[in-house]
Amino acid sequence: MNTASAVDISRLVDTEEGWVDRSIYWDPDLYAQELEQIFARCWLFLAHESQLAKPGDYVTTTMGQDRVIVTRKRDGEIGAFLNSCPHRGNVVCHAEAGNTRGFVCNYHGWSFGLDGALVGMHEQAAFDRSPGFDRTKLGLTPVAQVATYKGLVFGTFDPGAPSLAEYFGDFTYYLDVLLDNDEGGTEFLPGCISSVLNCNWKVAAENFAGDALHAGWTHDSGARAMLGKGVASVVDGESYQANVNGHCWEFNLDLLGNAATLGDRAILRYLREREPAMAERLGPTRARMVGSMASVNVFPNFSFLPGQNTFRVWQPRGPQQIELQTWVLVNRNAPQEIKDAYRKGVMMTFAPAGVFEMDDGENWEYATRANDGVVTRRQRLYYGLGLGTATTHPDLPGNLYRGQVNDANQRAFLGRWAELMQADSWDRVTS
C-alpha cells in the first residue's frame, strides 16, 4: 500500500480550531495518494439493486478512476469486476447499462461470463497449446468485496476493509430515513444524468456533507423560481449536524423543507399523509427528516438530498475535475404520479439545467481554480463555524451538533479524509 508522502497530512486539516490547507484541493501528488488511500480502500457506491433487477442486467461505472462492471449474476448475486480485459487491457463493455449473457472484448474476442470468468476467445486452440495458459486465472479482476444495504450496492477494492455494516456503524440509523420509510423499499427511476464539473471532488462532497449555510445565499434565485420566495432562514432550534465514521447528515425536522422546492404539491400531500406511517416505522423524529431541509454525504463521494431525493456520486477525474452522476430515488410503492413528480422535480432543481445546481457549479469550480495561485494556496481556509456546538439527543446517534448552519460535518469529513490518507491499515482508523 502506498503511504509514502512528502507531505505531513496531519498539518493540512486542523479540526480542533477549524483551518484547512488549500493544497488538498489542488496538489496532484495528494490526488494520486487519494486514489490509493481513499478510493482503492473505502466502500464506494456502485448501483441501486433496482438497476439490476434480473439476471444478466448490468451497469458500468467507476470506483475512483477504475472502470467497473456491476452485474446481476445467474445465481442472483451481484458481482463487480474491473472493466478491463486481462489480455491487453481494453475496456470490455462500453455500454452504460443493459442485459447480456456476458461480455466480449472487441480486441481479440476474449469473452467473460456474468461472474467475470473467462469462457473463451478467438483462436482458442492456440492459447490452449501455450504452456502455462490457465483460463481459470484470467477472468475479469473482481472487486474485493461487494455488499448491499437496503437496496444500495457498494464495493471496495480492499479485501481487508471492514464490513459494510462496520463501515457505516450507527449511520444506518440516518440512512434508513430514506431507505426504509416504507415497507416496499426503494428504487432508482430509469436513467442517469451525468455531467463534468471542473472542481475538486471534496468541494462537492463537503457541500453535501454539511454546508447548509450556502443554501439561503447561493440558492436564493432557485428558491424564488420554485417557491416564489427565498430560502427560509435556518434559526430553528430543532436543526442538527450528525456524523459517524466521516459519513455526514445535516438536517432539521421540518418534514417538507427540501421537498417543497420540487414545486409539486402532490409530493407534499404524499409526505404529509405518510407521516404517521413513517413515524410508526422510524419513530417521530426520523419521520420529520424524510423531506426536510437536509443534505448528506456518505464517505467518501456518495451524496444525496432528502426531500429532493437526488442521489449522486462525485467521481474524481483529477485534482480539478469530477464526473457527476445523478439518479432519482423513490419509494417502490409510491404512486406513479408521485414517481413522475420526483423525476421532474429533480430535473428542475438538482440536475445540470436545474435552478439550484447551476449556482453550485460555478462556486465549486472557482473555489477549486483559485488555488492555482501559488501565494493564494498558502492562505488557509476558515472552517471554524459552530465550534463548541456538540450536543446530545435521546434519539440521534453519532457525533451530534446543534444548528445545521455549522462547519461540524465538514470538519468531520476532512478529519476522516486526513485519517485515511495517513493510515496504512484499517486498524489505525477510528470507528
Partner: protein, 187 residues
C-alpha cells in the same frame, strides 16, 4: 403545395427559428416563452449508451432528462434567470444559437417526407408543421470558459392568431455525458 408556396412556408418557418435563436442569444427569456403554446412540451432527454441490439434504446420518455417541461416548468427556469441573485449568470454568458438543416413538413398537406408524424402530434393537423433542425450552441463565460452543445431538434409548430407557436420540441443532445457543468440556456 406549389413550389412557391413550399418556398414561402420554409422561409417563414426559418425566419421564426432564427428569431427564436436570437431571443435566446440576447437572453430575452420572457419573449422566448411567449413563442410557446399553453399546452407546450419541451423535452431534452438524457442519452444512455446502450448496445445496438438493446430494445430499450438510448432515449425513452420515462428516463431522466435534462428538460421534460411544460410551460409552467419553463416559466420557473426563466424566473431564475430573471432573479438578481442568479449569481452564476453574472457577469453574463455570451450565447450563440446557430440553427441549420431546417426541413418543414406540412401535416395537413400529408406532405410528410420522413413519415414520422407521431400519434398525438395534432388534433386535426390543420395549420401545424413538423420542423426538423440541427442546433449548434456555443457559450463563452468569464475569460476562458467555452462550451459547445449540439442538438437534433424536432418541433411541432402551430399557426395561431398571434403567428407561429411551438407546441412541442424534442432536442436530442450529441453528448451523453454532458461535457459542461450546466446548461444555462435553452436549446
Amino acid at each position: 403545395m406549389s413550389a412557391l408556396e413550399t418556398l414561402a412556408l420554409h422561409h417563414e418557418i426559418s425566419g421564426f427559428l432564427y428569431r427564436e435563436a436570437r431571443l435566446l442569444d440576447e437572453e430575452r427569456y420572457d419573449d422566448w416563452l411567449a413563442l410557446f403554446t399553453e399546452d407546450a412540451h419541451y423535452w431534452v432527454p438524457g442519452v444512455t449508451n446502450r448496445q445496438r441490439r438493446d430494445p430499450i434504446g438510448s432515449i425513452r420518455p420515462e428516463q431522466m432528462a435534462f428538460f421534460d417541461d411544460n410551460l409552467q416548468d419553463l416559466s420557473r427556469r426563466v424566473a431564475r434567470y430573471n432573479a438578481e441573485t442568479a449569481w452564476a449568470e453574472d457577469p453574463a454568458t455570451r450565447h450563440f444559437h446557430l440553427v441549420a438543416n431546417i426541413e418543414v413538413e406540412d401535416i395537413a398537406a400529408g406532405d410528410i417526407a420522413t413519415g414520422d408524424i407521431a400519434a398525438g402530434d395534432t388534433d386535426d393537423g390543420a395549420g401545424e408543421y413538423v420542423v426538423h433542425s440541427v442546433l449548434l450552441n456555443y457559450r463563452n463565460r468569464h475569460r476562458d470558459e467555452q462550451d459547445v452543445l449540439t442538438a437534433r431538434r424536432r418541433d411541432v409548430l402551430r399557426r395561431t392568431g398571434d403567428g407561429l407557436r411551438i407546441v412541442r420540441r424534442k432536442a436530442v443532445l450529441g453528448q451523453s455525458l454532458l461535457l459542461s457543468k450546466n446548461i444555462n440556456t435553452f436549446l
